[in-house]
């Protein structure tokens, strides 16, 4: 059913598209704007949109009061570390589920996903106690471990979906060519699954970067990532909107840049299984 695309329709649809896009983007825009206001302007009613006294003092204060670089490093270590461990465990797991399934593979997959249905706070106390007793509180290893555990089901599911699309014959051909399972994974499966693995990596980095529950509850200083850095600005002495905004802008900037440059990859990867 082909419909005539008239100019009016084109304009309406375009305008509606921009409006929706703007609405979605608005909170982030508002946060960035607020970060350049004085604390007074940040509170003023009616809110000032553009014509306020622009200042960068919030950024200066945030940098002196708390160490951005330290927290950003922790975020990077956490995001990359947990992603790496997820891949090391997830690729072989997804391989076996996709190419050597048993009668219980489906149930295993569903069970793994079901662990994501429980609210994390349900296991906060036991995890906290375990971490305390094993000395993992506020350590990189502990955080990487918990993020790895939290994201592994999603990583395996995504990789499994991508691997399913790869013809089994090709892996068998590699086996006939004398490849061991390790070589088959490295030389044949991984290169063919690069788009899928890349979007899994990106998604996992974003998830780990933004995860706030465990990072806030299991860290204090030395391993605290950017989420803790933001949270420190909603302090008992009061909410400093402008400084909170500056801190948040700093915290999301790296991931926003990463997301921007990889958006094509991300969209392609996330819709990979859907359009066949």
């Amino acid at each position: 059913m082909a419909r005539r695309i008239t100019t009016t329709r084109r304009i309406t649809v375009t305008a509606a598209g921009w409006l929706v896009g703007f609405l979605i983007f608005f909170p982030i825009l508002w946060m960035v704007l607020t970060s350049f206001k004085t604390e007074l302007d940040a509170f003023s009613t009616p809110p000032q949109f553009l014509f306020f006294h622009w200042t960068t003092e919030n950024y200066a204060i945030v940098q002196t009061r708390s160490d951005y670089v330290h927290h950003a490093m922790n975020s990077i270590i956490l995001a990359l570390g947990s992603t790496l461990v997820c891949l090391v465990v997830g690729i072989p797991a997804a391989w076996s589920m996709a190419f050597a399934p048993t009668e219980r593979t489906r149930q295993t997959l569903l069970w793994m996903l079901s662990t994501k249905m429980m609210p994390a706070v349900g296991v906060l106390i036991p995890i906290y106690l375990l971490f305390r007793d094993t000395g993992l509180l506020d350590t990189h290893v502990g955080l990487i471990f918990i993020e790895f555990m939290a994201n592994l089901p999603i990583v395996i599911w995504m990789l499994y979906t991508y691997f399913k699309e790869i013809p089994k014959d090709i892996l068998e051909a590699a086996r006939m060519d004398g490849a061991t399972i390790g070589k088959e994974l490295v030389f044949v499966l991984a290169p063919m699954a690069v788009p899928g693995i890349a979007s899994t990596v990106l998604l996992n980095i974003i998830l780990a970067w933004n995860e706030a529950f465990w990072t806030l509850n299991l860290t204090t200083v030395s391993a605290a990532p950017l989420t803790a850095f933001i949270a420190s600005y909603s302090s008992p002495e009061g909410l400093f909107w402008a400084k909170l905004s500056a801190a948040s802008t700093l915290a999301i900037a790296p991931i926003l840049v990463l997301g921007w440059f990889s958006q094509k990859q991300l969209v392609r990867g996330l819709t990979f299984g859907a359009v066949k």
């Binding site: 090709i170 086996r175 006939m176």
Partner: protein, 334 residues
């Protein structure tokens, strides 16, 4: 060397028996073709030999060594898949050379061997392309190149030509025959194309429902089918099978006669019938004749035969070429 022996090989998937006790000897250098109806277990048997599936019973020996528990990588066999199964992210050169690379062959030697194989298969101009940039026939040749370059003990083919069009299929069939001949490597070839089976094979293995019905040279199977199944399966158009009174007259429960062994006459013969369809293919004429109490009989006559549908015709089977089968469907040898 590439002598392959199967001893009581069995395979079940869950509770379903797919291969039910297969004994087979494949001699070194022999070209063996597996034929049988769809779903009879041809591919499964080939994959068992390859090691891509584990046997549930019996033993597989290559050159006298039991390889039942050896992974495919260590069996020294090559396989050509129906889907070609080329590595899409590698050039033709790397595709063909992958097996050598896995075996740790140094780069110069690898290149030399790949180039030699490519020359044999007319692929020299395409060595730096990706499989996606090749035609179906070229992909098939890359798959064959990948199989021969490793100098395996045996080639395994699973319907390698079924994705090609008819003309190309004939060419590739000849090419495979020529290659196997000059290399002298054992080959096991799965197909359900009669012509491929008859032309390529030194030995045909007819499979049905996971069991071997008969093993023999193409002409042995054609001239002396061991049972009704083989009689009906080998040959195109199919052998005419007649049972009842007409068969009892020849001292059998069922008799079979090939279309080319039935003669026609306008006036006299054993069976009287009416032509329902006459197909003229130039060199031959195929008549489909309906005979009361017996059924449809196919007749193959050499040259043109001016018979129209509806015409009355008498048929006589050549007594010396009749195949007799007992009540269990096994051939009665005279």
């Amino acid at each position: 060397m590439g002598k392959i022996e199967l001893v009581g090989v069995e395979k079940t998937f869950g509770h379903v028996g797919v291969i039910k006790g297969v004994d087979l000897q494949v001699e070194d250098g022999e070209f063996v073709v597996f034929v049988g109806p769809s779903g009879c277990g041809k591919s499964t048997l080939l994959r068992l030999i390859a090691g891509l599936e584990d046997t549930t019973g019996g033993r597989i020996l290559i050159d006298g060594v039991d390889v039942s528990d050896t992974p495919p990588a260590k069996r020294g066999l090559s396989m050509v898949f129906q889907s070609y199964a080329l590595y899409p992210h590698m050039s033709v050169r790397s595709n063909i050379g992958f097996g050598l690379r896995m075996a740790g062959v140094p780069k110069e030697e690898r290149n030399r061997k790949v180039e030699a194989a490519a020359a044999v298969l007319n692929l020299t101009a395409y060595l730096d392309r990706r499989p996606g940039q090749l035609s179906g026939g070229q992909r098939q040749r890359v798959a064959i190149g990948r199989a021969i370059v490793r100098e395996p003990k045996a080639f395994l083919f699973d319907e390698p030509l079924s994705n090609l069009d008819a003309a190309l299929r004939v060419n590739m069939r000849l090419e495979i025959a020529r290659l196997q001949n000059s290399l002298g490597t054992t080959a096991i070839y799965v197909t359900h194309d009669q012509i491929e089976a008859m032309t390529l094979a030194d030995k045909i293995v007819v499979l049905n429902a996971g069991k071997i019905e008969q093993v023999g040279s193409p002409l042995e199977l054609y001239d002396h089918p061991a049972n009704l199944f083989v009689a009906g399966f080998i040959g195109s158009p199919k052998m005419n099978l007649v049972s009842g009174a007409a068969a009892r007259k020849h001292g059998a429960a069922t008799i079979g006669v090939r279309p080319e062994h039935v003669s026609t006459s306008p006036t006299i013969g054993e069976w009287e019938g009416v032509v329902s369809v006459a197909e003229h293919v130039g060199s031959d004429t195929f008549l489909y004749v309906t005979v009361p109490d017996i059924g449809d009989i196919t007749v193959r006559a050499v040259g043109e035969l001016a018979l129209k549908p509806g015409a009355k015709v008498f048929l006589t089977p050549d007594i010396s070429r009749i195949h007799r089968f007992d009540r269990d469907g096994n051939a009665v040898r005279n």
